[in-house]
C-alpha cells in the first residue's frame, strides 16, 4: 500500500478505533488473539460492520452484518465511496493535500448508486449507506481484511477499492485509523520483508535499481541477477511450458495447498528434479527426489519472525531437533558449500546483523533490543528509534515527506471467474476453522474436542431441496473434479453458498475442486469462489 508492503496500524490502535470495517475476514477464528484487541474496542463502544458472505463467528460480534454476494466487494466499496461523496462526507482537505486522481475517482464511482449496488451485492441500500456514513464521520476508523479480499481473481482490485475509501476519508497515516491486512502465517510478513518476493531485495529495496543492487553486491561479494524472478503461480505456468525443470521447495506444501491441486501434483511430478526441505514428509515431499529434513523454526531453532503489525520478534530453540533434522540456514549453507561457495557457519544473530546492515528499516533492531522491548515494529532505522506503530504519517506532513501524493485507483466490478450454471449451481468458498491451520501438517497432530473435521456447510433450504440431511455424505463436484464429504446444515450460511475448510486434504481433497484462476497482479488464485454441484450418493 502506498509503497510499503505491510499493515498500517498496530494492534493497540484497534482498541481505540470508533468504527471497524471487518471485510472478508473471520478473525475470530483465523486470528483469535488479534480479535481480542478488536473486542476491547467494541467493549469501549466501537461500532463494527462485518462484510462477509457468511454470517461468520466474527460477524456475530458486529453491529451490522453485510452479507454480500460472493465476489461483489469492488461494487460494494465503490458504492460506499459514491455514497460518502454524494453525502458530502469526504475529507476534502485531506484529499486536496495528500491524494491524486480524486475527480477521476468521483466520476468513476458515480454509476455505483445505492440501488445499483444493492442489486449487485444483495446488501440492502440502507445498510450500505449506514456503513458509509459511519466510516466517513468516525474520528478513528480502520478497515481490516484477510483472504476474503485477496483470494479472488481480482484480489488486487479488491484491495485498491478499500484503499480508496481510506484516502477519501483520511483514515490512514495516523493513530487509530488505518488499513490492516491480517497476515495468515507467522512469518509471511517477514518473508516479504526479507526479499522473498520475485522483484524485491530485503527491506523492499528494488532488484531492478542498480544502486540498491550495488549495496547488496558489495556485501555478498557477487553480482546479482537484475531480472525479477517468478512468483509461485507463474512458476507452475513455467513448469507447464517446460521452462522450469527443477524446483527447491522450502517449508511449503503446494501439492495440497494449490488450487486445482491435482494439476499442481502432476506438474511437480513431471519435474526433472524436486528437492523438498521440510519438517514433515508432506504430500509435496512424497513427490520429491531429495528430501532435506529440517528443524521446527519456532521451537527448535533461533531466529526472528515478523507479525501482522510489522513487529519483529525473536523465536528461540526450546527443544533439540530430532534425528538428522538440521536448521534451514545450515542446510542452505551446506548446499552452498557443495556448490563451491563457503559462507562459513554464521549464527542466526550474525545473519540478522548482516541483514540490518543492508535493510535500513531493520537497522535499529539488535537481538538485545528485540528481547528487551518485546519486539520492534519496522521501520526502525536507528538504535535509538522506538519503532513505528503506524505507517504513512507522511500523508499528513506539509510536504508529504517529499513524496508524490497517494493515488486513487479506478476499479470495476467483476464477479467470480467461474459463473454458476445449471450444471454447477452452488457457490463454494473455503476458509479456516479455529482449531486447525492450512493443510493440517502442523495442526493435524493434536486432537481436541472442538474439531469437527472437514464438512461442507450448507443452508437448510438448499439441503432440504436436495433431500440431504445433516451429517449425510454427499458427492461435491466442480468442473475440475469431485470429492465425497459430509454435510453440516448451517443456518448461518446463506442459500446458494457452501463453505468448507481446507485443513484435512487426506480426508477430503478439497483443492482438487477449487478454482485456479488467478489474479494477474498478485498471483493469488481464486480459492474463494468455485462453482459446484452437490448430489446425494447413489445407494445399491
Amino acid at each position: 500500500m502506498f509503497g510499503a508492503g505491510g499493515g498500517t496500524s498496530s494492534y493497540q490502535e484497534i482498541e481505540e478505533a470508533d468504527v471497524v470495517l471487518l471485510w472478508g475476514s473471520n478473525a475470530r477464528e483465523a486470528h483469535p488473539i488479534y480479535f481480542h484487541h478488536v473486542l476491547k474496542g467494541l467493549d469501549q463502544g466501537a461500532t463494527m460492520y462485518a462484510v462477509d458472505p457468511r454470517r461468520s463467528s466474527s460477524a456475530k460480534f458486529a453491529d451490522v452484518w453485510l452479507g454480500l454476494n460472493l465476489g461483489t466487494d469492488v461494487a460494494l466499496a465503490n458504492g460506499v465511496g459514491r455514497e460518502i461523496i454524494a453525502a458530502g462526507l469526504q475529507n476534502q482537505a485531506f484529499i486536496d493535500h495528500a491524494t491524486a486522481g480524486f475527480e477521476a475517482y468521483r466520476d468513476h464511482v458515480e454509476p455505483f448508486t445505492l440501488d445499483y449496488v444493492e442489486q449487485v451485492t444483495g446488501v440492502p441500500a440502507a445498510a450500505i449507506a449506514e456503513m458509509a456514513h459511519a466510516y466517513a464521520t468516525a474520528d478513528k476508523a480502520q478497515i481490516l481484511w484477510t483472504l476474503g479480499i485477496t483470494e479472488h481473481h481480482n484480489g488486487v482490485d479488491n484491495v485498491k477499492s478499500l484503499c480508496n475509501l481510506s484516502l477519501l476519508t483520511g483514515h490512514v497515516g495516523r493513530w487509530g485509523s488505518g488499513l490492516v491486512p491480517l497476515r495468515g502465517q507467522n512469518n509471511v510478513q517477514g518473508g516479504g520483508d526479507m526479499g522473498a518476493l520475485p522483484n524485491k531485495l530485503p527491506g523492499f529495496q528494488d532488484l531492478t535499481n542498480p544502486d540498491h543492487r550495488a549495496k547488496f553486491e558489495a556485501v555478498y561479494g557477487t553480482p546479482l541477477n537484475p531480472e525479477p524472478g517468478l512468483h509461485l503461480t507463474l512458476m507452475f505456468e513455467a513448469m507447464e511450458q517446460g521452462t522450469i525443470r527443477g524446483a527447491y521447495c522450502i517449508g511449503e506444501n503446494p501439492a495440497d495447498s494449490e488450487a486445482d491441486s491435482a494439476h499442481a501434483r502432476k506438474l511437480l511430478s513431471g519435474l526433472d528434479i524436486l528437492v523438498v526441505q521440510d519438517i514433515f514428509l508432506t504430500r509435496t515431499a512424497e513427490l520429491a527426489d531429495v528430501v532435506l529434513p529440517s528443524s521446527v523454526g519456532w521451537a527448535e531453532c533461533d531466529g526472528t519472525v515478523t507479525s501482522s503489525e510489522r513487529r519483529v520478534q525473536r523465536v528461540r530453540a526450546a527443544v533439540p531437533p530430532p534425528g538428522e533434522c538440521r536448521h534451514d540456514h545450515e542446510i542452505i549453507g551446506e548446499l552452498a558449500r557443495r556448490l563451491g561457495v563457503d559462507w562459513g557457519d554464521p549464527t542466526p544473530e550474525e545473519l540478522w546483523d548482516e541483514l540490518r546492515s543492508l535493510s535500513p528499516m531493520h537497522a535499529g533492531m539488535s537481538y538485545q533490543r528485540l528481547a528487551d522491548e518485546g519486539g520492534l515494529q519496522w521501520p526502525c532505522p536507528e538504535m535509538d528509534h522506538p519503532g513505528s506503530p503506524f505507517l504513512h504519517g507522511w500523508l499528513w506532513e506539509d510536504d508529504l515527506g517529499g513524496r508524490p501524493p497517494a493515488p486513487f485507483s479506478l476499479t470495476d466490478h467483476a464477479g467470480p471467474k467461474e459463473e454458476l450454471s445449471a450444471e454447477f449451481p452452488l457457490r463454494l468458498t473455503t476458509g479456516r476453522a479455529l482449531d486447525s491451520y492450512n493443510t493440517g501438517v502442523q495442526s493435524g497432530g493434536y486432537d481436541n474436542p472442538i474439531r469437527y473435521g472437514d464438512a461442507l456447510d450448507l443452508n437448510p433450504d438448499d439441503a432440504a431441496a436436495l433431500g440431504i440431511v445433516d451429517g449425510e455424505t454427499v458427492r461435491v463436484s466442480s468442473p475440475r473434479g469431485a470429492v465425497e464429504m459430509a454435510i453440516r446444515v448451517q443456518p448461518d450460511i446463506p442459500a446458494g453458498l457452501a463453505f468448507t475448510t481446507f485443513h484435512f486434504p487426506e480426508l477430503v481433497d478439497i483443492n482438487t475442486i477449487t478454482n485456479d484462476e488467478w489474479d494477474r497482479e498478485s498471483g493469488t488464485a481464486e480459492f474463494k469462489a468455485a462453482a459446484i454441484r452437490v448430489e446425494k450418493l447413489r445407494h445399491g
Binding site: 494492534y11 493497540q12 490502535e13 486470528h31 483469535p32 488473539i33 488479534y34 481480542h36 460480534f61 482537505a93 474520528d139 478513528k140 495516523r174 493513530w175 487509530g176 491480517l182 497476515r183 495468515g184 502465517q185 507467522n186 512469518n187 509471511v188 519438517i279 514433515f280 514428509l281 529434513p293 521446527v296 519456532w298 521451537a299 519472525v305 515478523t306 507479525s307 503489525e309 525473536r314 523465536v315 528461540r316 526450546a318 527443544v319 534425528g323 538428522e324 533434522c325 518485546g374 519486539g375 506503530p389 499528513w396 506532513e397 479455529l434 482449531d435 486447525s436 491451520y437 501438517v441 502442523q442 495442526s443 493435524g444 497432530g445 493434536y446 486432537d447 481436541n448 474436542p449 472442538i450
Partner: protein
Amino acid sequence: MTLPTNPSGAASEVNVNLTVNGQSVSVPAGTTIHRACERAGIDTPTLCWAENLTPVNVCRVCVVEVEGNRTLVPSCARAVEEGMVVNTDSERVRHSRRMVLEFLASGVDLDQAEGLRRWLDEYEADPGRYDQDGLPARTVYEEPKVQDNLYIRDYSRCVLCYKCVEACGDDAQHTYAIAVSGRGFDARISTEFDVTLPDSACVYCGNCIGVCPTGAIQFKTEFDLRQASDWRPDEQTVTQTVCSYCGVGCNLELHVQDERIVKVTSPADHSVTHGHLCIKGRFGWQYVQPVDAPTRQRRP
C-alpha cells in the same frame, strides 16, 4: 496539515502524592493502591487480582487500611487519592489477611497454589485450627473432572476467585462458557447446566488455566505428570518464542521437561497477547514432541 487526532501514548501524567507505611510515594493519577505499594517496594498478597484482568474484589486478601475509611479497602481496585494515608502492615490489616487466608486454606486444597502458600507462612495462617476430628474442614471436595485430553477441572482446589470466569468472558475471550453457579457452600464454577466441557460453549483457549492461581483448572499434561509424581518444575526450562500459527505473533512460553513440551503459557505483560492465547497456540504443539508421542505426521 493538522491531524484530527493526536497520536496516543501521551497519557496525562498528573501525579498524586500519598503516604504508604509512613513513606512518601508519588504515582500517576488513576494508579491503584496496589500498584503504588509495588512502586514503593511493598509486597501485597493478591489472589483474585491479575495484571491482565479487571479487578473483581472478591478475595479480600489485598486489603489495606486507609486513614479516614471505616472499612479496610481492596488495594487492587481502589485508586490513589491526593494526601491518602495508607497502612499495609497494621495489626488490623495483618489480622484480616490472616483470617482470609486461613478460611480459604481450611476450605480447599491449596497444595498447588504456590504463590498463596508463601502468604500463608508470611501471615502465620493456621488453617488447621478449623480441623474437625483431626480432618481438614474441607467444604469443597469432589473428584477431578477429566472430560477431554486438554483440560482437567479439580474443584477441590477452587477458591472461587472468578479469574477463569473473567478470562473466559469480558476480560479476554468473550466466550462465556463458564460462570459461578449455586450459592454458599454449593457455589461452583460451572458450564451451562453443568454439561461437560466438550458439550459446552468452551473453545479450549486455555485462558482460564492461564490465570488460575491454585491448579483448579489445569493442563491435562501437567495433571497426568503430577498423578505420576513426575511433575518437576525445578527441572523445567521456560523458553519464550512466537507461535507458528497465523500472523498475529503471539508470544509463547514453552515449558519443557526432559526435552518435551509440558505446557504453554504467555507473558501477561506482552502487548500482543496480554497473556492470552487461542487453542492452536496453547495446544497445537504436539508435532514438535519426540516421535514416540502420538502424532499424525511422520517426521523424516
